[in-house]
């Protein structure tokens, strides 16, 4: 079996553009500021954690593919480019792209449907293509000029970890030489109101996180992604969370844990970084941010093993384990 290594990370989050700002916010441990998500109709005031404007504005935002794109596409590209860094480009067909989303392009979907409800014949044809789940991954592929595998996976907050496992599988099977795995989301009043039906006190957040995987040796290794534990009629969220902890071996080996979820089961003895109270509910981006933070901690030799556990909203619980490597 091939070993899979993390070559780079990237993040766009309410803490700013760049993974360093995300890590700094998590280390500080203070909840990031929220702002009101404007809604066009009367209703409860909704708070969210938005991505601040990039300053300076990156040159790649002027790419024709991003001219009319929604924020989620810009976040995907921003995080992915940081993860890629200045690594030389190889065969265009040999870089895989996997993107995990939950809500997807909700801003353009809402705007387009508002136009349809007002007067269908005048609904903008510029908006509709950007509503498609795989539009952000498509833009990323086009900007990078990559013609290989490019899949978008939809699910709950666990989508990024699922994509991470699939990317590692592609590498193991030789389908690709390297793989960009991205989790992304954008915040909108509609999402905030919808998630508020389930957990009113948790602000919606937006952004993206990315990991670049390959089989080339690097200081951080992806050791595993657990078997998913589904929330079904026969298995509660707490039982699913505990089973993921068991798979990660948290009870046997004290391992710092980056946790994503609306609740935080106390079923392990090591240090825990609860992501949601600090950055908010980033939906599919949340799992990606947790992995970025865990990898950062390993890269900076703050820890030797790092676990991520994600309790999704409505599908499953999933975990991932990373470790520092020796040559």
């Amino acid at each position: 079996m091939s070993r899979i290594f993390v070559q780079g990370v990237g993040a766009v989050s309410p803490a700013g553009w760049g993974s360093e700002s995300l890590t700094a916010a998590l280390v500080a441990g203070h909840p990031l500021p929220t702002s009101e998500l404007p809604r066009p109709t009367d209703g409860p005031r909704l708070q969210g954690r938005r991505v601040p404007a990039a300053n300076p504005r990156p040159a790649w935002l002027a790419h024709p593919r991003l001219r009319r794109s929604s924020p989620i596409s810009q976040f995907v590209v921003g995080a992915a480019l940081e993860a890629l860094g200045d690594r030389p480009s190889g065969d265009p067909a040999r870089l895989g792209i996997l993107c995990g989303v939950m809500g997807g392009s909700v801003i353009y979907s809402r705007r387009f449907f508002e136009e349809v409800r007002r007067d269908p014949p005048t609904a903008s044809p510029l908006l509709f293509p950007e509503t498609v789940f795989n539009a952000p991954a498509s833009h990323l592929g086009a900007i990078l000029g990559r013609t290989g595998r490019n899949d978008t996976l939809v699910g709950d907050q666990t989508g990024f970890l699922h994509a991470l496992a699939l990317g590692a599988t592609w590498l193991t099977d030789g389908v690709v030489d390297s793989c960009l795995v991205v989790g992304s989301e954008e915040a909108d009043w509609l999402t905030a109101e919808a998630t508020g039906l389930f957990h009113r006190q948790i602000p919606t957040a937006e952004g993206a996180g990315a990991l670049l995987l390959s089989r080339e040796f690097s200081p951080v290794e992806l050791l595993g992604v657990t078997e998913p534990e589904a929330f079904t009629a026969g298995q509660s969220r707490w039982v699913a969370a505990r089973r993921v902890a068991e798979q990660l071996g948290l009870g046997r080996v004290p391992t710092p844990l980056w946790e994503v979820g609306w609740e935080h089961p106390e079923d392990h003895g090591a240090a825990v970084t609860a992501m949601v109270p600090i950055v908010g509910d980033g939906l599919a981006a949340g799992g990606a941010w947790a992995c970025v933070a865990a990898v950062h901690a390993l890269q900076q030799a703050r820890v030797n093993r790092a676990a991520v556990r994600v309790l999704g909203a409505n599908l499953q619980a999933l975990g991932a384990l990373f470790g520092r490597t020796s040559a």
Binding site: F128, F133, G155, A194
Partner: protein, 413 residues
């Protein structure tokens, strides 16, 4: 572990289909659909699900759902809450599951689904509540049922299985990608079985979206016709039970056909328009055939993506001409979207089932029409019902975002 997974030492495995369920506007199930596709029937009618009076076109291939779902392990409350897209999926899955004779066990069973809009109709209903300032009523189930993971969980509950769930949303290639992903799981030895398919229900947002792009035909959907003017939308679902040949033989299962090749690539030309030369389409057909170990002259029939839009069909024709080379004159091609419309996330899965029907029953699905075939098509467009023994067939699926996928299937003798 999802990664690294335990891999069967005897991989790669041959991957066979032991169950296939299909729902389209032609009917419910294999038999009704096979008769319809074999005759080249069309199933378009005025849309009744939402208001289309202000759109450029008012027809689609709408499914007539049965009054009740087939009996499963879903509670009456769960069954009552399923939305239209979920019902399409459950109907197709029930047929496949029953045909395969699968029994839920303790081993994880991977589920791989493709969709573009899942329960979008529920999402639309939620939005209308949320945007209505006068109403404070919100129905949380409309949010949960908008998302495809709800339909996946319902499927698991309906048949009593558990396992990794992968939901692929690669626009109109989603269904083919889902089957391709499940094929790779079984072929690589990571799973001995996988349930895979695609589904999408008609909804106003998507209908209006394609209309806004002026992609919908205002006449008749005529793929590869010289005067084609767009696609027609449809809805439906198809689900396949895939398993290793060893697994199927051990169970004594009836084998419907074999999946032997899968190719996927990305067209970076434009978000909604294919490269005029169909470069990515050519790459996926080539990759799928290489994995299958066949050459284009061995492919007896191609179920084309063939939407009926000027740009798609021109690019696909160019790709087919280039890929088949000298064999193109003997290549027989049709698009079953002429019968049932474009099923978006379900298209690739339904068209895979059409290919299984053609392989198993020895016929080619025609697309009826008297118009002039686009001279760009160097291949033979199947326009009349014809019986033909087939050994290998190929199906294409392309989508927005440049998602391209091809599958090669072989007759099981």
């Amino acid at each position: 572990m999802l990664f690294p997974a335990l891999i069967s030492p005897s991989a790669p495995h041959r991957v066979v289909v032991t169950g296939a369920g299909v729902v389209t506007a032609l009917g419910l199930g294999w038999r009704q659909n096979a008769e319809g596709f074999r005759a080249g029937r069309t199933a378009f009618r005025p849309v009744t699900l939402f208001e289309v009076g202000r759109q450029r076109t008012t027809h689609a291939a709408e499914v007539t759902l049965p009054p009740a779902l087939p009996p499963t392990r879903l509670s009456p409350r769960q069954a009552a809450r399923t939305d239209r897209a979920g019902r399409l999926l459950l109907l197709a899955a029930h047929e496949a599951w029953t045909q395969a004779g699968w029994v839920a066990g303790a081993d994880p069973l991977p589920l791989v689904l493709g969709t573009t809009s899942a329960g979008m109709a529920s999402g639309q209903a939620y939005f209308q509540q949320a945007a209505n300032a006068a109403s404070r009523h919100r129905q949380a189930t409309r949010i949960t049922h908008y998302q495809p993971q709800r339909q996946a969980l319902d499927l698991m509950d309906a048949f009593g299985f558990r396992g990794p769930t992968t939901i692929i949303a690669n626009a109109c290639a989603s269904g083919a990608n889902a089957i391709g992903h499940a094929f790779e799981l079984v072929r690589s030895g990571r799973a001995s079985r996988a349930l895979a398919g695609g589904y999408d229900g008609l909804c106003q947002l998507v209908f209006a979206g394609f209309d806004s792009l002026q992609a919908l035909s205002t006449t008749t959907c005529r793929p590869f016709d010289a005067r084609r003017d767009g696609l027609a939308l449809g809805e439906g679902a198809a689900v396949l039970t895939l398993e290793s040949l060893d697994s199927a033989r051990q169970r004594g299962a009836q084998i419907l056909g074999e999946i032997v090749g899968y190719g996927a690539a990305t067209d970076v030309h434009h978000l909604t328009q294919p490269h005029p030369a169909g470069t990515a389409a050519r790459a996926t057909m080539t990759a799928a055939c290489q994995q299958a170990g066949v050459t284009p002259d061995q492919i007896g029939y191609v179920n084309a993506h063939g939407t009926g839009t000027p740009l798609n069909d021109a690019a696909e024709a160019a790709a087919l001409n280039d890929w088949a080379g000298a064999a193109v004159r003997r290549l027989r091609v049709s698009s079953t979207k002429a019968s049932i419309g474009h099923l978006l996330g379900a298209a690739g899965a339904v068209e895979t089932v059409v290919c299984l029907m053609a392989l198993r029953e020895g016929w080619l699905p025609p697309q009826r029409g008297r118009g002039e075939v686009d001279p760009a098509c160097a291949f033979s467009l199947v326009r009349e019902p014809v019986d033909a023994p087939l050994e290998y067939v190929l199906t294409n699926s392309f989508g927005f975002g440049g998602a391209n996928a091809s599958l090669v299937l072989r007759r099981w003798a």
